[in-house]
Amino acid sequence: MDLTSLTIDAARAAIQQRKTTAFALAEAHYARIQQQDGQIGAFLTLSKDRALEQADRIDRMAAEGKPLPPLGGVPVGIKDVMSTRGLRTTAGSKILENYVPPYDCTAVARMEAAGAVVLGKMNCDEFAMGSSNENSAYRPVRNPRDLSRVPGGSSGGSAAALAADMAVVTLGSDTGGSIRQPASFCGVVGLMPTYGRVSRYGLIAFASSLDHIGPLAKSVKDAAIVLRTIAGRDPMDSTSAEVPAPDYVVELDKPVRGMKLGVAKEYFGEGLDAEVRQAVESAIDKLRTLGCEIVPVSLPHTPYAIPTYYVIATAEASANLARFDGVRYSHRARGVKTLSEMYRRSRDEGFGAEVKRRIMLGTYALSAGYYDAYYLKAQKVRTLLTRDFDEAFRKVDAIVTPTSPTAAFRLGEKSNDPLAMYLADIYTVTADLAGIPGISIPCGETKEKLPIGLQILGKHFDEGTILRLAHSYEETSKSHSAAGS
């Protein structure tokens, strides 16, 4: 049995039936990390003590013949923007280099309560700000499919770890595409749930009205199992919704025949790579052969999504990141004489270039005289973008698009041009602004063997439908590739 390529159910069953142990599974993943991660850089911190203690607990349950919880013994990775009690949490930033949170993020606590074994914390762009993982203050992550290319971002470590079999599933966060775009670049599944579906308590805030926690996985079913684990109201996050979550795993096997899928021309225009277009169009054809009806829809405000996003996200970030002042936690500059000098120098030394750029942009957009022209204007366009989806979802059950206009680009290719980097999120940011769920699943490769992602967007709180469509597509493409090989 290859211990590093198991699904959640296979791993749990193998431990339950005593064919292996949670301990052996964790050790096999650490061995794999030891062997692979030097060149990839997906992990920032390993939590071996915590992992083996949990593995031991699971193994004792298995030995006693007790039924294991849904993630019993499953090795997972947590993006380093989620707080973990007693385990260093950096948000990919030097300013939190030595920060050890005194409490757990709700999503992490729910994963561990369900038996998950936390292997460590995943590398990411600093404060989740980036689309390539080159903004990590520690090291860039490399794409396991081609080491000269980026894994996407900001949850690049979470995606790359799966592509290199260094974890079974991971948690990421998505503010403008940060789960779906790296999933697409690394050839794995990435699910951004509806805003409010998963508690944000313990997530280091980037843009509070846009931040989402969600799973990355090697299969749609594994993503569904993780969502089932972390979804639901949490009194510690007043924006977590009081909307019951169905059993997403049961949803997977419901039929897709007769579903209406929207295709919007705005997602197939200028800038879309020809190979990506071709792969996504043939994926849409495949969904049609599964009995889905393809319906043209219009999302006319799409071209305004990126500017809207960069005003709102940076405005919120500038407020959220004001807390890093060198007083209660975070880096403090040495040799400062006054409080004000301490704030400035500590932040100057602690934050990287992109974070400073976004704080500056957000502060500018909120400053007296510019608030109406930028922030208020962007909030109004956010309403229009959300109405586009409301309108479209009157006619269709889900919308299918490419996840990203291109496959993974090279390290350094966009790092000197912030605007070009921002455009990598052109097909993903709108869902964050509207608060609707979206999933990215692999739908083929370029000639250079780089993965391509298909994005399926759904109605608010209708993760069940997009998971079901993604699962059906995955099943068909699995049987095709099996027949072809």
Binding site: P102, S209, A241, I306, P307, R328, K337, L339, K356, Y374
Partner: protein, 112 residues
Amino acid sequence: MKVTDKDVAYVADLANLELSEQERAAMLRDLNSILDYVDRLNELDTSDVAPMAQVSDRYGVDVSKQGSERFAYASREDVVEGLRKSLPHAEALANAPDADEDFFRVPKVIER
């Protein structure tokens, strides 16, 4: 150019960022390039559009109520030990760059 040197210095001041001369030059270039792009929002007439601050307005809200009553689902008793116990001092101070047993220590606030 929308943003001037002076604006960059002013905004850096508001944001408590001390930027080097090099950083200020790069910021001037980048902010102008990004804001030029953001300007395309002005192509849209939004005079009759309400601003959207958050997604949460769309669910869980009791539309028959007024003001904060609308968000009753998210409210709780205002008590000292509400959802979570306060951290013990030692734990709360553990990440501080400088602290004594009970307080965070910072450089002098009043200059005189």
